[in-house]
Symmetry: C2
Subunit: 367 residues, 2 copies
């Protein structure tokens, strides 16, 4: 019998091991401090006030969010310095909300075009001066962001609209691939260096050079960034495990699940169990290099080969006995940010006992 | 300027075209009626009381759900006949909830092993007789379910525990692959036929033979099933489009999104726009045969080549002008069941105007 899931937890459920969480938060904070870097963690990962409070207590200078809605939740929860790391297209209602946020909180937003910056300035009017702007640079992920040589045009348009230019940011999302974190960290550094130099040559003061990501944050020994925005590091997940960016011991978030169906291999069937946690709690991110839809910390050779909304099919290692029906297992999602966004609350455990429940306060705040 | 997204909708948001929804509901209901089949739609797709009411008004005999929590929401909303199509492992708290449900509603549950059936009977005690059971058969999806030859053992255990054996069910999930719907429908029919015949030979009365799925529901001209449980047909989605199980005109659910970043192909970049709808509203299901992470009804050659939590990267067809920043676009998710579970409410539109808001009442009811 596996006692990794405390009695009283109804499966499926997200469990956070608070000791592991605290250790992850401290480790990242110490690494940043020792390198003279500011830490501004991305809280879209957890969307939880209690965890943001721990990050700030450990020395984070502020928070990073993805949406105005997330910013509103964390500002209401007491945050005083928030970066919305997203190239917002600002309409009247966005401007109204940004104004309200800026009245209680230092607000920085992203932009990646002269047109977006101009639209934002126009909508904010005289209040534009209360908002800092970081210009997004594409360091190789090829999502949003301008090329380093294009930042000056964007900065000039933003400045002409009355916004404060604070510097540049990038997200090296191409780091999420085996063998890529080190190269992506190099690209990130190069793009941030070229973009910030271009801004300075054009006469802008560059106060902030902001970089990504959990896969690269601990690699940048010689980074040009002044602050980093990792998110996933608080929990770890199966992607980070398989990218060798965290260890099994760093996994703070697991999904408690129950074996509801089991199938020995006789009759031509695949030897497997089915558990009651599917894509509606694990999320269904599966990059092509992943070995499955998540991992099992207690059964490291098992693989989640298929995922439905409420079923995970776990192919069991031949060397291990198939678990009995009703056995409670723990699963590690591929991508914790999606899992957290699927539940209203999480169960907090310490040394195998339930100690608290936290609300996922910013769940679903997509705009 | 594209007016497919009504003014006043804050993006990203899920929009339901109620005329298309009504037509989809009627078409499936008519097809079932004309073939003498009972329709018991799977409401995990929409989790919404208003849509379930439409399905029942169109002649559905009852509802299918995936979890006890979903059953509780729909029973509280007035449903009187619910099938929990899931191989539940019943513990004391599940039994208590099933008892309460059965006091107001006809309740059927799934089981796929003698042990699960025995556990359920033991937990329910004398109330076992108030619960109908359908035995799950594996018709080729190789998830849960027993082989057709094994149903009698499960039925005997369930009957010995005091449960009522109502028949058999299957989900031909291997139908979700190009070229597979017709073969999977054949497998489904074969497995249901063999399983129900075995039960009858063993002296059980088979009242219900229950089959899947949106890809197969309209194919089973000669089905042996007495009832079918399609879910996705109410909305359609990009998977069903690419499987040719629905047309563009059948798409009732789209995600309204705004272009926040645009990139012409000069400078070696990919010609693309980025919109503000990512995996936290579209869901990230992407089978290996899909052409992307969703489709755009107004730009059928465009492809969503990458998805982050709040960004979809849309590679734009060379033949079309790249849309301006701030343009509002509609996206069709790959899998509507995941998209609906990511929002608290949906915007109902008719002929391009907002007419209502519906609450996704059973969102997140994972257990």
């Amino acid at each position: 019998m596996n006692h990794a899931v405390p009695d009283g937890i109804l499966t499926p459920a997200i469990m956070i091991d608070v000791d592991v969480l605290d250790r992850n938060i401290q480790r990242m904070a110490s690494s940043m401090l020792s390198r003279g870097l500011r830490l501004r963690p991305h809280v879209k990962t957890h969307k939880t006030l209690e965890i943001a409070a721990k990050q700030l207590a450990a020395g984070a200078v502020g928070l990073t969010v993805a949406t105005i809605g997330e910013a509103e939740v964390f500002a209401a929860g007491g945050a005083t310095d928030i970066f919305i790391a997203y190239p917002l297209w600002v309409e009247a209602h966005h401007a109204e909300r940004l104004r309200k946020l800026a009245s209680t909180c230092a607000i920085t937003v992203g932009t990646d075009s002269a047109e977006s910056a101009t639209a934002m300035g126009r909508q904010l009017g005289a209040d534009a001066r209360s908002i800092d702007v970081l210009i997004e640079v594409d360091s190789g992920h090829h999502r949003s962001g301008v090329l380093p040589g294009e930042v000056v045009d964007v900065a000039r348009a933003a400045a002409a609209s009355g916004l404060n230019i604070a510097g540049v940011f990038t997200f090296p999302g191409h780091s999420y691939k085996p063998g890529m974190p080190r190269d992506a960290a190099g690209n990130e550094n190069d793009a941030l260096g070229r973009a910030s130099a271009a801004l300075e040559r054009a006469g802008f003061e560059v106060r902030t050079i902001s970089g990504g990501s959990t896969p690269t944050a601990l690699l940048d020994a010689e980074t040009l960034a002044t602050e980093l925005r990792p998110g996933v590091y608080v929990f770890g997940d199966a992607q980070q495990l398989e990218l060798e960016r965290c260890t099994w011991d760093d996994i703070a978030l697991t999904v408690a699940a129950t074996v509801v169906s089991r199938h020995e291999s006789d009759g031509g069937n695949i030897r497997r169990v089915v558990v009651d946690a599917g894509s509606k709690i694990l999320g269904s991110d599966r990059p092509d290099w992943a070995t499955g839809y998540g991992r099992l910390p207690e059964y490291r050779e098992a693989r989640i080969t298929a995922l439905s909304e409420h079923h995970a099919t776990v192919v069991w290692p031949d060397s291990e006995e198939l678990p009995a029906l009703g056995t409670r297992l723990r699963l590690i999602p591929n991508h914790v940010c999606l899992a957290m966004n699927l539940v209203d609350e999480v169960t907090v455990v310490r040394e195998g006992a339930v100690v608290d429940t936290w609300r996922v306060a910013a769940r679903g705040r997509n705009n």
